[in-house]
C-alpha cells in the first residue's frame, strides 16, 4: 500500500510521518504541494509543521495550494486523508473538516505528552483501536484550540464526529476537549496531537500512535 505524505514549504514532520508509514508496513510516497499529482496513492497524510510559516493563519495559505485542491476532490470520492496538527489546520481551512483552530487559550506553544480518549474506532484511521481506549501521544502547537459555533459543536457531537478527545488535562483550551474530528464518512480525520511521534519506544512517550497508520492499511485491505 502506498501512502502519500505531502510536503509544503515549511512542513516539518513530513519525515516523521513517512517513518510512521514505513513502520506500519506501508510505502511512504513523497508528494509536493505545488504539483497536481497524487501519484496514485491509496491514502494521504498532511503532516505537521508551519506551512508557509503559518503566516496569516495556520494552514490558510497551504489550503489554497494546487495539491490540496486535488486532495479535496479525491476525499469526496473516499480517499482516506489524515491531517496531523498543521495538516488538520489545512483540512479545516480547505473546508474538508468543520471548525477552526485558533490561538491556544494560554497563548503559548505547548509540547507535552498527552492522554487521548479514542471515541471513534471505526474511521479509516482509527480502526485498530478499541472504542474508549486511552492512548498517550505528544501534542505540540500554538494554535491548537479547536473552535466552532456552539450549534455546530452540538451537531458534530450528535453525529459522533469527535474522533479523539483530550483526557487528563486540556493542553490548549479546545472546545469540549476536542482533539480530533472526522468527516461524515469517516475517511478524513484531522487531529492536533502527533501520532507519528509515538511510533518507537526509543524516541516517543509510547508506541500508541502507530495505530493510526496501521488502521488505514487494514481499512484498505478490507475495502
Amino acid at each position: 500500500m502506498r501512502i502519500g505524505v505531502i510536503t509544503f514549504p515549511g512542513s516539518l514532520d513530513d519525515v516523521d510521518a513517512a517513518r510512521a508509514v514505513r513502520l506500519a508496513g506501508a510505502e511512504p510516497v513523497p508528494l509536493w504541494h505545488g504539483e497536481h499529482d497524487l501519484k496514485d496513492v491509496d491514502a494521504v497524510v498532511l503532516p505537521g509543521g508551519f506551512s508557509y510559516g503559518d503566516y496569516l493563519r495556520a494552514g490558510a495559505i497551504a489550503a489554497r495550494s494546487p495539491l490540496v485542491q486535488d486532495v479535496v476532490a479525491a476525499a469526496r470520492t473516499g480517499l482516506p486523508v489524515l491531517g496531523i496538527c498543521n495538516g488538520f489546520q489545512v483540512l479545516c481551512e480547505a473546508g474538508l473538516l468543520p471548525g477552526a483552530l485558533t490561538r491556544n487559550s494560554h497563548l503559548h506553544f505547548r509540547n507535552r505528552d498527552q492522554g487521548l480518549l479514542v471515541e471513534r474506532a471505526d474511521t479509516a484511521w482509527t480502526s485498530s483501536y478499541a472504542q474508549g481506549q486511552t492512548i498517550v501521544v505528544p501534542v505540540k502547537n500554538g494554535e491548537g484550540r479547536y473552535v466552532a459555533a456552539d450549534a455546530d459543536l452540538d451537531r458534530l457531537e450528535g453525529e459522533g464526529r469527535v474522533v479523539v478527545r483530550y483526557v487528563g488535562g486540556n493542553p490548549n483550551g479546545s472546545s469540549r476537549d476536542i482533539a480530533g474530528v472526522t468527516s461524515a464518512d469517516g475517511r478524513v480525520v484531522g487531529l492536533m496531537p502527533h501520532p507519528e511521534h509515538a511510533v518507537e519506544e526509543l524516541t516517543g512517550p509510547s508506541t500508541d500512535g502507530l495505530g493510526f497508520f496501521v488502521s488505514v492499511l487494514q481499512s484498505a485491505v478490507a475495502a
Binding site: P9, F50, G53, A58, R110, P138, K140, G142, T203
Partner: protein, 759 residues
C-alpha cells in the same frame, strides 16, 4: 557618492570614524593599509569588521590557548571556521557551536532571541551539515523583578518560535537567575548539525571566474550598525536617566520560514555538489561574508553591489554592506553550475542572485552605479584587524570574597531542601521547555529535563550523540580559572552519565567590558582554565563565541563561561535516563562528598550568600567517573543515572524521584548538610538491579561507592532526617515558574507583529 577615485583626491576629508567605534590609531592603520583615506563604504566595512564582535580584538590573544591544545584525532575541522567539525564514527561528522545574542534580546526579547537561534543555525548549515537540534542557555535578573517578567517570556517565545518553526528539536539548555543579569540578560543558543565526512564545506572563495551568489532574504535596513552598536558597545544612561540603547535601535527581525526554505535549498545544493565555498551572513552582513570568503581563498573578488536585491531602495551602499538582514547566505559557484544552483533555489522559492565573481588579483572590489567604492586587501578587513593586549588585574574584592566562607550547617534540612528545589534556579523548568518542540524529526532520544540531550543520527546503526551546556557563574565569580573548569567538568559529566563518550568542546564566554582590567583578568583566567581543563581531559575546543560588554554602568555581570560538551553514543538505545521508573532498585552514590558550600545553590538560596571557594576540581576523578558510566551504560548495568551539581544530592534526588513519581527510602552518612547540599564534583546517583556488579566496576575504576537505599513508595525518606511525600515535593518544585511567568497577561506584547509563535 564617495568613490575610491574621490578618496584618493580628497585625503583630508573629515570622516566619522570615532562615531563608528574606531579608535584613532585604528583609523590611522586603515589609511596606512590603503595608502589613502578610506571611502565611506570602506570605512563602514572596516568599522564593523574591526568591532569587538567580529574581530575578537580583546580576546584573540587569549583564545590562542585553545589553538595550542594537542591535536585531536576526532577533529576534522578546527577553530577558525564557522564551526568545528568532529568525527563521530561510521563516516558521520558532527558540527556544533554556541553563540550569544544578549544585547538584542534585552532590547527586543522575542526578535533578539529568535534571530540568535537563526544565526547559529546558519553557521552550522554553512559547514555542509543538516542542522538537527538546538539548545539554549539563558540568564535573567532576579526572577521576581518586573523587567524579568518583560524579558523572559519574550525570549522563551522567541527561542521557541524560531526553532519550532525551523523544525529543530530543542534538546536542552539552562535557565538561571541572578541580579547581576538585570540589565544584561544572556541568550546563548547552540545548534548541532550532522553530515557525512565528505560533505564538509568551507567558507572559502577559490577559482578565478567562479560566481559569487547571494541567496535568501532581500537586504533591508534592519540591524545596520548592529554589530558595532548593539553587540559591542555598552548601553549608556540617556539624559532622562532611563536606561536604553544609546544608539540607533538596530534590531533584526527573523523569518524562520525563509530560513527553513534556505536550509532545504542549501542541502539540495550540497547534495548536487554545486558550491565550492559557502558562508552565512551574520554580523556585518555582506561586508563580512565577502571579505571572509576572499580572505580565506587565494585570489580576490569583485562585487557589483547594484545586483543585491533590496527590500528598501533608499539604502546607501554603506548601509547595504553593513545590513544585518537575516536569512541570507553567500556561495561561490562555478559558472557551469550557476544555472542549476538558481533552479534549486527557485524550486524552494529562495531568491538567488549573482552579485560578483572571484578574481585572480588580491583585492576585494565593490562597485556601485558603475563607480568603484571599495578596493581593499580582504585579509586586512577580515583577518588582520587590531589585536589588543588589554591590561588585566585581579579583582580587588576577590581575596575578601574568597575569605568570606559560607555557613556550613543547616538549621532545618527539610525546609532548606524545599527552598532549594523550589527556588527559581532549582525549580522545574517545564513551563519553559514545553514551549519548545522536542519531538520533531523523530530522533530525540533524551531531551529536557535529562542531564544531556541525546539524538540518534543513524536510524540503521543507532549511532548517536549527546550534548550538554553548563555555565555556573557563581563558581566563576569566586574563581574564574577553577570555575570555568568546573563548568567543563559538569558538562562532561552530564554527557557521560547519559552513557556517551565525551569528544569535543564548544563555549560561549559572556563577560563584562574588556576595558575594565578586572574583567579582562576574569576573561583570561576563564580561557586559561578551559584550555587547561580540555588538555587534562583530552578534548579539543572546536569553536565558540565571545560576548563582551555585558555590563550595566560600572557593574559587570558575573563572569559566565558557558561550556558545551559533545559526546558520542555507539548505540543510543543504551542511553541512560535520569529518572527512576522501577521500584526495588538499589540507589548508589558514585564519587566522594566534601563539605563544599562556596558558590553553592544552598548558600545562595538559604543564606543569600556568595563567597568562599568553589568546590575542589578533580579532573582525574571526573575521568574515572565518566569512564565508569560509559562502561556501565554499554553493558546495560544501570537503569538510571543523574549527575550531581547545583543543589547537590537534594536536587538530584528530587529530580530523579519526580520524573516518574517513584520515591525511595535512603540513608546518608556523615554530616547531613554536606551530604544533601554540598556541591562536590565527580558525583552521580545511579539506580540498578545489579548493585554488586556496579560496585565491582566502580572499585576497579577507582570511583567511591556509597549505597543510599532502595527505590519505591511515594515519598523520599531519608532515615532519621526527613520524610518528603512526593506530592508535596512536586507541588514545591513545579509551582515556581508558572506562578512567576505563567499568566497569559505576561504574554501580551511578547510576540511582535509579523512573527508567529504558532502551529
Amino acid at each position: 557618492m564617495d568613490t575610491v577615485e574621490l578618496a584618493a583626491k580628497s585625503p583630508d576629508d573629515q570622516q566619522p570614524w570615532a562615531e563608528l567605534g574606531l579608535k584613532d590609531d585604528e583609523y590611522a592603520r586603515i589609511r596606512e593599509i590603503l595608502g589613502r583615506r578610506p571611502t565611506t563604504a570602506e570605512l563602514a566595512m572596516y568599522s564593523v569588521m574591526w568591532s569587538e564582535h567580529c574581530s575578537y580584538k580583546s580576546s584573540k590573544v587569549h583564545l590562542r590557548r585553545f589553538g595550542d591544545l594537542p591535536k585531536s584525532d576526532a577533529l576534522l575541522v578546527g577553530m577558525g571556521e564557522n564551526a568545528g567539525v568532529v568525527d563521530v564514527g561510521d563516516g558521520w561528522a558532527v558540527t556544533f557551536k554556541v553563540e550569544s545574542h544578549n544585547h538584542p534580546s534585552y532590547v527586543e526579547p522575542y526578535q533578539g532571541a529568535a534571530t540568535g537561534v537563526g544565526g547559529i543555525v546558519r553557521d552550522i548549515l554553512t559547514m555542509g551539515a543538516r542542522p538537527v537540534a538546538v539548545m539554549d542557555s539563558l540568564r535573567f535578573g532576579a526572577a521576581d523583578a518586573p523587567d524579568t517578567a518583560r524579558v523572559l517570556p519574550g525570549v522563551v517565545a522567541g527561542v521557541g518560535g524560531y526553532g519550532n518553526c525551523l523544525g529543530l528539536p530543542n534538546i536542552g539548555g539552562e535557565l538561571l537567575f541572578d541580579d547581576c543579569y538585570a540589565g544584561n540578560p544572556l541568550v546563548n543558543a547552540l545548534c548541532v548539525g550532522v553530515m557525512k565526512h565528505a560533505d564538509v564545506r568551507l567558507a572559502k572563495a577559490e577559482g578565478a571566474g567562479n560566481k559569487v551568489v547571494l541567496f535568501g532574504a532581500r537586504t533591508g535596513g534592519d540591524g545596520i550598525g548592529g554589530v558595532s552598536v548593539l553587540a559591542s558597545e555598552t548601553f549608556d544612561d540617556s539624559a532622562d536617566g532611563q536606561r536604553g540603547p544609546a544608539k540607533r535601535p538596530a534590531v533584526q527581525v527573523g523569518d524562520p520560514f525563509t530560513e527553513k526554505l534556505l536550509i532545504e535549498a542549501c542541502l539540495e545544493i550540497f547534495a548536487a555538489d554545486l558550491v565550492t565555498g559557502i558562508q552565512d551572513l551574520g554580523g556585518a552582513g555582506i561586508s563580512c561574508a565577502t571579505s571572509e570568503l576572499a580572505a580565506a581563498g587565494s585570489g580576490g573578488m569583485a562585487i557589483d553591489l547594484d545586483a543585491v536585491p533590496l527590500r528598501d531602495s533608499t539604502l546607501t551602499p554603506a548601509e547595504i554592506l553593513m545590513s544585518e538582514s537575516q536569512e541570507r547566505m553567500c556561495a561561490i559557484v562555478e559558472p557551469g553550475k550557476v544555472e542549476e544552483f538558481l533552479a534549486v533555489c527557485a524550486r524552494w522559492d529562495v531568491l538567488a542572485t549573482v552579485i560578483g565573481e572571484v578574481t585572480d588579483g588580491d583585492r576585494l572590489t565593490i562597485d556601485w552605479h558603475g563607480e568603484r567604492i571599495v578596493d581593499v586587501p580582504p585579509r586586512t578587513v577580515a583577518l588582520e584587524g587590531p589585536v589588543y593586549e588589554r591590561p588585566m588585574s585581579r579583582p580587588a574584592d576577590l581575596d575578601a570574597l574568597q575569605a568570606d566562607a559560607p555557613p556550613s550547617s543547616s538549621a532545618d534540612l527539610r525546609a532548606d531542601w524545599l527552598a532549594v528545589v523550589s527556588s527559581p534556579d532549582g525549580a522545574d523548568k517545564t513551563w519553559v521547555t514545553e514551549q519548545y518542540d522536542r519531538y520533531v524529526r523523530g530522533n530525540t532520544v533524551l531531551a529536557q529535563p535529562e542531564d544531556a540531550g541525546v539524538l540518534r543520527i543513524d536510524e540503521q546503526s543507532n549511532r548517536g550523540i549527546a550534548l550538554a551546556l553548563d555555565g555556573n557563574a557563581r563558581y566563576a565569580r569566586l574563581d574564574p580559572y577553577t570555575g570555568t573548569q568546573l563548568n567543563l567538568a559538569e558538562a562532561y559529566r552530564n554527557v557521560a552519565v547519559s552513557g556517551a563518550r565525551p569528544l569535543a568542546v564548544t563555549n560561549c564566554l559572556n563577560f563584562g567590558s574588556p576595558e575594565e582590567p578586572e574583567v579582562m583578568w576574569q576573561f583570561a583566567e576563564a580561557v586559561r582554565g578551559l584550555a587547561d581543563g580540555c588538555r587534562a581531559l583530552g578534548l579539543p575546543v572546536t569553536g565558540g563565541n565571545v560576548s563582551l560588554y555585558n555590563q550595566t554602568g560600572e557593574t559587570a555581570i558575573n563572569p559566565t563561561p558557558v561550556v558545551g560538551v559533545l559526546g558520542v553514543h555507539a548505540d543510543v538505545s543504551r542511553r541512560v535516563p535520569s529518572g527512576w521508573r522501577a521500584e526495588g532498585e538499589t540507589v548508589l552514590l558514585l564519587g566522594g562528598t566534601r563539605p563544599e558550600f562556596g558558590g553553592s545553590a544552598w548558600a545562595a538560596v538559604v543564606h543569600g550568600h556568595l563567597g568562599g571557594l568553589p568546590p575542589v576540581l578533580d579532573l582525574a576523578a571526573e575521568q574515572a567517573l565518566a569512564g565508569l558510566m560509559v562502561g556501565l551504560a554499554a553493558q546495560g548495568r544501570v537503569s538510571s543515572a543523574h549527575d550531581l551539581a547545583d543543589g547537590g544530592l537534594a536536587q538530584a534526588l528530587t529530580e530523579s524521584a519526580l520524573r516518574y513519581g517513584v520515591g525511595a527510602r535512603l540513608r546518608v552518612e556523615g554530616d547531613p548538610t554536606a551530604a544533601l547540599f554540598a556541591e562536590s564534583g565527580a558525583r552521580a546517583v545511579v539506580t540498578t538491579s545489579q548493585p554488586d556488579t556496579v560496585r565491582t566496576a566502580a572499585q576497579a575504576a577507582g570511583v567511591p561507592v556509597t549505597e543510599l537505599g532502595t527505590t519505591g513508595g511515594d515519598a523520599l525518606v531519608l532515615d532519621g532526617l526527613l520524610d518528603l511525600p512526593l506530592a508535596e515535593l512536586r507541588e514545591a518544585w513545579t509551582a515556581t515558574l508558572p506562578a512567576l511567568f505563567g499568566s497569559p497577561e505576561l504574554a501580551v506584547g511578547t510576540v511582535p507583529a509579523g512573527a508567529v509563535p504558532t502551529s
